[in-house]
């Protein structure tokens, strides 16, 4: 090796390429800085905020009072656990229906005899590109007997004329299904990519050995994409527990009717940002306590899933 190339390597940090070296540090700095400023700092600051009462200008340190209120106050805790429960139902619909459909669609789309794959793929993905406020509002009109009733009755579908979004027994299901319909394209895309990554030799070998298509699917293709399933599950989990817009556009910030569609997102918004109508004085401390509690609950859900599905190279 000439002296010149050595110099260049030293300049690039190459001199420290050895196990345990810290040459990679400088490459991490931009991402780390971005993460600290935009993710870690606000998150820690929100934990700090949860120990204060009042709004800007009148902020006072109150210790754990916001948490005590969140978990012991009759009304606040009832709303919190209600929203928490609703969120699990909302998540269950996505996990069981959206992601199962995603696998099904992906299996069909990656079938070697499939024609017009691009077309169907686009069709499935299109709803993801539309603003939630738009799809939510359109479905809100479609599910409203006042606006859709006449058309449905004329088409002989009178049994569909119901206040779907105003009835406590159907509201949350309808909201969840609209969200499933809208976002099914995302897991589909991820599963398509995962299925395409499977080596054709494996499938070929299996079919030569006499495995049925169903056996190939359940015993070879599915086990091979477990890491992707785990990732999709985590993404679904996190985005569902942060959901807000679909309820906002289809129901109200109160999670009408009677809080049956109230999610953590809407609850947080009501307490932390907008304040309860009509007084409208927000309690950022309580809002921060809600988000901090949820953060730790999510963490407890995400870590085991990550451990069991990821990192098995």
């Amino acid at each position: 090796m000439t002296a010149k190339t050595n110099k260049i390597r030293a300049f690039q940090g190459g001199a420290s390429i050895k196990p345990g070296g810290v040459y990679w540090m400088r490459y991490v700095i931009p991402a780390l800085a971005f993460y600290v400023v935009f993710m870690a700092y606000p998150m820690i600051d929100s934990v700090r905020l949860s120990l204060y009462s009042g709004t800007a200008g009148t902020r006072e340190f109150v210790g754990l009072a916001n948490y005590v209120r969140l978990f012991t106050d009759e009304v606040v805790s009832k709303r919190f656990w209600n929203a928490f429960g609703n969120n699990w139902v909302f998540f269950a619909w996505h996990m069981l229906l959206q992601n199962a459909l995603g696998i099904l669609f992906a299996a069909i789309l990656t079938n070697r005899t499939m024609r017009g794959r691009q077309f169907y793929q686009t069709l499935i993905f299109i709803p993801c590109t539309i603003a939630v406020l738009v799809t939510g509002y359109l479905f809100k009109l479609m599910m409203n007997p006042v606006w859709a009733g006449t058309t449905l009755k004329a088409a002989g579908l009178g049994f569909l004329v119901r206040p779907w979004l105003g009835d406590r027994s159907t509201a949350l299901t309808c909201v969840s299904l609209v969200s499933v319909w809208q976002w099914v394209g995302i897991p589909t895309m991820m599963f398509v990519a995962a299925f395409q990554g499977i080596d054709d030799d494996l499938i070929e070998a299996a079919s030569i050995e006499g495995a049925t298509p169903w056996q190939q699917f359940t015993l070879i293709r599915i086990p091979l994409i477990v890491p992707v399933i785990g990732m999709v599950a985590i993404m679904t989990f996190v985005s569902n527990f942060n959901a807000f817009d679909v309820v906002f556009s289809m129901e109200t910030l109160d999670g009408a009717p009677d809080y049956t569609t109230d999610l953590i997102g809407t609850l947080f918004y009501r307490y932390g940002i907008a304040g309860q109508h009509p007084v409208g004085i927000p309690e950022p401390g309580v809002g921060a306590a809600i988000s901090t509690s949820i953060f730790f609950m999510l963490l407890c859900g995400v870590i085991p899933v990550l451990r069991t599905t990821q990192g098995k190279e």
């Binding site: 800007a56 599910m143 007997p145 009408a256 009677d258 907008a274």
Partner: protein, 407 residues
């Protein structure tokens, strides 16, 4: 980041009054960014009359309370500022930020007790001059009424219910209202009905616990309310305030119970040939109208121009000033002064005339009972779904209020 931006914004907004003070100009703070055009015209008129220049500096409604508080804390508050009614406005007075208005000519004479009460602190000090009010009315479709041969508007609640039945029998949806939005069923419907059942004095007695919220009157109120339910559209559970307005505006329902503030948009956005009436009182009751004190204007006690501030407030409290102000009021907001005012806009004038010869009062729960807001909405929803009875609601609300009073 958002916080930083907000802080920067607050800082800029807080600095503006200092700059303004330098050239002897007064500043007015407000939460009505939508009304800048009208208010600027009004202030220009005021300058023309008196030579005092006032600049309108509105802040977004949701940011207003916090921004104003910060400005006042730092001694950079506007000379004049819009004051919320009741507790929110009172809080600033309790911190010594408001000019006490009791001595300002006109304040004690030209407003009714219940209106002035919205800006009166516990010690009797008036902390802002009442400026504008909103009301609730029943809008009706004149064409549908004409087709059905309805020539006379109902004069009693019983006639009103009979009218609804007549329309329903004719295959027309009588009312466009629903319960989906969780506020209009209470704010527009129930609170609009209340002044037909009792007066301001009764409200004070209910607030103090002297009268019970589950007495005969209240059971009658809730029973009368429950009579409306069959006349809401099919699937009213999923109808929000916008749906109701559109439904009525498109001529698919004969009537709509809503706030006076909707009048402007209903006239502008739809072709509906509409009229409006006040809630008819039950036979034997004296008719009343909910005229809700919404906007007041307060003076900053620390203003560098105390004389000009007082002069402006006195002008607002005078019939002459109120008359000029009324010409510039944004649609749906009504003058609140107890003096005959003629409004240029015929429709708004007609709306303001609804209160003539009636008991008026603010929204029942606004003064002291805001904690009952959510329970009332929840119980009204339950009545509409057939899961609660009028007596049951009265008992539930009364129990909550007794509990609150005991604290």
């Amino acid at each position: 980041m958002k916080k930083l931006l907000a802080l920067a914004l607050v800082a800029i907004v807080s600095l503006l009054p200092i700059l303004a003070m330098a050239d002897g100009e007064l500043v007015m703070g407000s939460w009505r960014t939508d009304d800048a055009e009208q208010v600027n015209a009004l202030l220009a008129k005021y300058e023309e009359l008196t030579g005092t220049k006032i600049r309108f500096e509105p802040t977004t409604s949701t940011q207003y309370n916090a921004t104003l508080r910060l400005q006042l804390d730092n001694g950079t508050g506007p000379d004049l500022f819009y004051s919320r009614s009741y507790a929110t406005g009172d809080e600033l007075y309790l911190n010594g930020f408001n000019v006490v208005c009791n001595d300002i000519p006109g304040v004690m004479e030209n407003f009714t007790d219940s209106v002035r009460g919205a800006w009166t602190a516990a010690d009797g000090s008036v902390f802002a001059v009442p400026f504008a009010a909103v009301s609730q009315v029943i809008y009706y479709n004149k064409d549908i009424f004409a087709e059905q041969g309805i020539e006379k508007l109902p004069e009693t609640w019983e006639e009103f219910i009979a009218l609804c039945q007549q329309l329903k029998d004719a295959g027309i949806t009588p009312l466009a209202n629903g319960i989906h939005d969780n506020w209009d069923i209470l704010e527009c419907v129930l609170l609009g009905m209340l002044p037909n059942y009792f007066t301001y004095e009764d409200r004070v007695a209910y607030e103090s616990g002297e009268k019970k919220l589950n007495d005969e009157t209240w059971v009658k109120v809730y029973s009368d309310f429950a009579q409306l339910i069959p006349f809401f559209p099919e699937g009213f559970e999923s109808i929000g305030n916008n749906d109701a307005n559109t439904y009525f505006g498109l001529g698919q329902a004969a009537m709509l119970i809503d706030g006076s503030w909707s009048c402007g948009t209903l006239m502008k956005d739809y072709d509906v040939n509409m009229g409006f009436m006040a809630f008819p009182a039950p036979a034997g009751n004296k008719a009343g109208l909910c005229l809700h004190a919404d906007m007041g204007i307060a003076g900053n006690a620390a203003s560098a121009h105390p004389e000009e501030v007082k002069a402006f407030l006195a002008w607002l409290a005078s019939p002459e000033g109120a008359q000029i102000t009324a010409d510039y009021l944004p649609g749906g907001f009504l003058p609140i002064i107890n003096a005959p005012i003629t409004l240029q806009d015929e429709t708004i004038n007609e709306m303001a005339a609804l209160s003539e010869g009636k008991n008026t009062d603010v929204r029942f729960i606004w003064a002291k009972m805001m904690d009952l807001y959510t329970p009332m909405v929840e119980n009204l929803n339950a009545i509409c779904r057939g899961e609660q009875t009028p007596q049951g609601m009265a008992d539930a609300i009364n129990a909550l209020w007794e509990e609150a009073l005991a604290k």
